[in-house]
Symmetry: C2
């Protein structure tokens, strides 16, 4: 239990923070807080991996595969990972799970917190691994894959700890009186559901997988992680730290395993449909996510989203435009939380003492996007496009369908001549063209939709969200009553709303311990990171009774 004692304050503080929901972060996302040695060591560790087999999981395998390609270099990384046959994975998970569920909650929490500390020591290696699989700019790769993912993991540990400590392990009930007096001893045991399958995505291989992994582990389940074949390395590093620590703690490494596959021969369905798999965490397309939800399992999905922006009025048009341009540009709009459809009334945007016309707004947006891409931090803000098919889909949307605001072009990425880059394509559309804008476009493109008035914007945005899901909704409105109406309508459709964001606060960013990520109530997904249900569905309370 030393490991719990070591991390007790961290865990208790995290439990308090999920309750009070004020800003809380444990793992610093400011690179200045790390030493040059850490940075250099991380880069060197990543560079030493090219064309090597990833052996750190200490698994035996005769087959090694890998197909990761750096969006910065557009060459393969040449890293191969061990293939373990499905039935063997299941068998290992079952056997390791039996031991893991018997570990008391304090020790489980301590071990998982310790794992995060060890992952912290590899944040820079993780950053480069994430950059060169997802295409994220360095800063985002560092922040999202490392500190932010670990904060979310700690949030899951804390929610798990508090749910499992919620009921006593043991009570004695005294019943009846006199000659009929009896006492019954009762125990309350949280029994883990079984094997947890965590299916990763290609854009956020750790951020989107760590909450599910840590939620399942803290509640006593064994985990099989099936990363996206194009983004294995970051999560493989995380899994290494967990496996190593489990072994050191006298527990089974196979409490967490990695299942790799290739784009040509995917194994996800085989794993997902296996009768021994009880829990599935999934991030990815709506089509596959709907299939996952249709399985007779407990699922936590994050699927497509067409996040709307409704612009009615503002006190700071410049702040609005610059904030929006950044939100759109960040990682070339490959974030699940990025805005897609910007609704602007034909009559323009009300500002102090006047209006900004629809065309004027489009001009301002184009200019702000241009300025951003040409600024010193522009290229690393946009990063690379993770894969060719994203670019292809964006290219297929013809600018002839509406008014061309900004065409997409490649831009120069310093240090990486071969990088797959693309500036943000902006197309202005009439509100009638719903067949174009009411579906998810993933990647560097947005639509500015000309509506009759704000009521029309609300109606169109809600329709799209209902069909295709929304994780966020950004609203600019200075009218208090109208804001309340918008809030109520979107909230009723289980969509959270962010109002009047300018400056350095962006609608795409959700803070651990404070913001729930995905509401779980609309078509964008059925799981919410980290609400109580994200934990409680992973185990069953069993009450035994003993006559004494």
């Amino acid at each position: 239990m030393q490991v719990f004692t070591k991390h007790k304050e961290l865990i208790y503080q995290a439990v308090e923070s999920i309750g009070n929901r004020v800003y809380h972060s444990v793992y610093s996302d400011n690179v200045k807080n790390y030493s040059d040695e850490q940075k250099e060591k991380g880069l060197a560790a990543f560079q030493s991996r090219f064309n090597m087999d990833f052996v750190e999981h200490k698994t035996k395998s005769e087959t090694w595969i890998g197909e990761e390609v750096s969006p910065y270099l557009q060459t393969g990384l040449g890293i191969r990972y061990p293939v373990i046959e499905t039935e063997k994975l299941i068998e290992n998970a079952q056997s390791a799970g039996k031991a893991w569920q018997k570990v008391v909650i304090e020790e489980r929490a301590g071990i998982l917190a310790e794992a995060l500390e060890r992952i912290e020591s590899r944040f820079f290696e993780l950053a480069h691994a994430t950059m060169h699989t997802t295409g994220q700019g360095f800063m985002m790769a560092f922040q999202a894959a490392g500190p932010h993912a670990c904060d979310r993991a700690l949030e899951a540990i804390a929610m798990g700890f508090s749910e499992i400590k919620r009921f006593p392990e043991f009570v004695k009930n005294e019943l009846g009186t006199g000659l009929n007096a009896t006492s019954i001893r009762k125990t309350y045991t949280p029994i883990p559901r079984g094997i947890s399958l965590v299916i990763g995505c290609s854009t956020f291989p750790t951020w989107n997988s760590l909450p599910g992994i840590f939620a399942s582990l803290i509640t006593g389940n064994s985990v099989i992680v099936k990363p996206h074949p194009k983004a294995v390395l970051p999560i493989a590093i995380v899994i290494t730290e967990l496996r190593t620590l489990l072994k050191e703690s006298g527990l089974r490494m196979d409490t967490i395993q990695m299942a790799v596959d290739t784009t040509d021969k995917p194994i996800t369905k085989v794993l997902a449909e296996h009768s021994a798999v009880a829990l599935i965490d999934f991030t990815g397309s709506s089509k596959f996510g709907n299939y996952i939800e249709s399985l007779p399992k407990i699922t936590f999905t994050e699927k497509a989203a067409i996040n709307p922006v409704i612009i009615d009025s503002t006190k700071d048009i410049e702040g609005l435009v610059n904030n929006l341009a950044f939100s759109i540009s960040l990682y070339s709009r490959q974030m699940c939380t990025a805005p897609q459809n910007i609704y602007v009334p034909a009559t323009g945007i009300k500002i102090t003492g006047g209006t900004v016309s629809f065309d004027d707004f489009c001009d301002r947006l184009r200019k702000s996007l241009d300025d951003l891409v040409q600024s010193k931090w522009g290229p690393s803000t946009l990063g690379c496009v993770q894969n060719d098919s994203t670019l292809k889909k964006v290219r297929e949307i013809s600018m002839a369908l509406g008014t061309k605001i900004a065409e997409a072009t490649s831009f120069r990425m310093p240090d990486f001549e071969a990088a797959r880059t693309q500036s943000i394509k902006v197309l202005a559309l009439d509100s009638g063209k719903q067949e174009i804008f009411q579906r998810e476009i993933f990647g560097p493109m947005v639509f500015v939709i000309k509506t009759e008035h704000t009521d029309n914007s609300i109606e169109l945005a809600l329709r799209g969200c209902t069909i295709s899901g929304a994780i966020t909704c950004l609203v600019h409105c200075t009218d208090f009553m109208l804001s309340k109406i918008i809030e109520e309508k979107f909230n009723a459709a289980f969509i959270p709303v962010s109002f009047n964001f300018t400056g350095q606060v962006f609608v795409n960013q959700h803070a651990a311990f404070s913001d729930f990520h995905v509401s779980g109530g609309n078509a964008s997904g059925n799981g919410s990171i980290v609400d109580p249900g994200f934990i409680t569905k992973r185990f069953v309370w069993i009450g035994n009774r003993y006559m004494t």
Copy 2:
């Protein structure tokens, strides 16, 4: 908020009790604690209902239906209930729900607690209504339909109150420093899922419906109750109190509505499949329950169960047999928690200084059952059989399939010459006859299964539970290590175990605030009364953010 102030202590105490899980009961189940006047008034109120229309819900209807038959009198009650067209029910529920969800949680909790106090004033009327629809004996009808159901309802209020109060309504996050300092205001709002459909059963019309009703109401959802057509009156009385109080509180009566149908023209599927229905609570057959679970909704089911009894050894064979005979006899084994399959080794039951042979055990069980039915309290312990089809199914199981221990016969029910009664049929079977005993037999019949040894008993019992579900499992075993093995195996299948019950503590009884009813992890159902998930699945946390 006066109504909250009035019930604040009650609610806080209930919140504490769900946390510490010691014995807690608010509504007395001892008839001695009620006045003669209350008893007489309740009986008179019930008797005045024969052949009358039930107008207390103040709904307009041109069609009135009712087909309840008293199992005691075997004549129809002649009570008719108003039919409301499905689309009208949905429309009412949507409109009333909008107002209800805006009522602050304290006031919702206060109103619901006040409703329980008013229901308490009608416990005796409820008791007679329950007796004459379900066939329960008076004492059970009184306890289960009134105080125990209300304790469970209060448990749901308390769990709902604590989940909704779990996160702050409002926080302010201060971000950045100096010139970049910004503050973000955030709100956390629990948005109800929508319309909640509660589908009642014929044997426990209030006990099995109140948890779902109160869980949905406390979380802000509007409710439509679809009672079993043969057991409407008890829940109709409960709904009256809620509707009346809602109206007095300036709220919409239609926050809770009743949808009645007939056996010939059921409406349950139409309601369950309606797109506006988001939540479904169901108690009933596995077949219909599986259909309910297959719908793309959030469901809470309680289905069939074949609760096993494993007898290995005991320090008190007489106490064991008498306790078991009572558990089997109670309400003629029409309780979802009643034991069905009694596994006894061919080598007999180990007792202090010897063994009780299989045949000796069967004799003792038969005698204890006989003694019980012939005792003063026997007839009212067994009560009546709710409907003919239960009797028919029991009759169809031929005693020629095994060794006849006790044949079922009708017995005399004091005061009710026409009562549909039946003593418990007991059939001893070889363990090979799984096609007979590995399915649910609902009603006055049990199997005593001769196994090779206790390991064989465990294996057979587990197999049955896995296929057909189990809500409880009773084990008699004096060997500590063997007990631990049994506990672990059943718990792993999400089945709670009760050990060595003798005296006045029965495996069929689950206490509110202390025992979870149905684990939610096996084939007997996916809901657990009242675990945190029974509440949290009924709403979605939505976090809005405002730049200030």
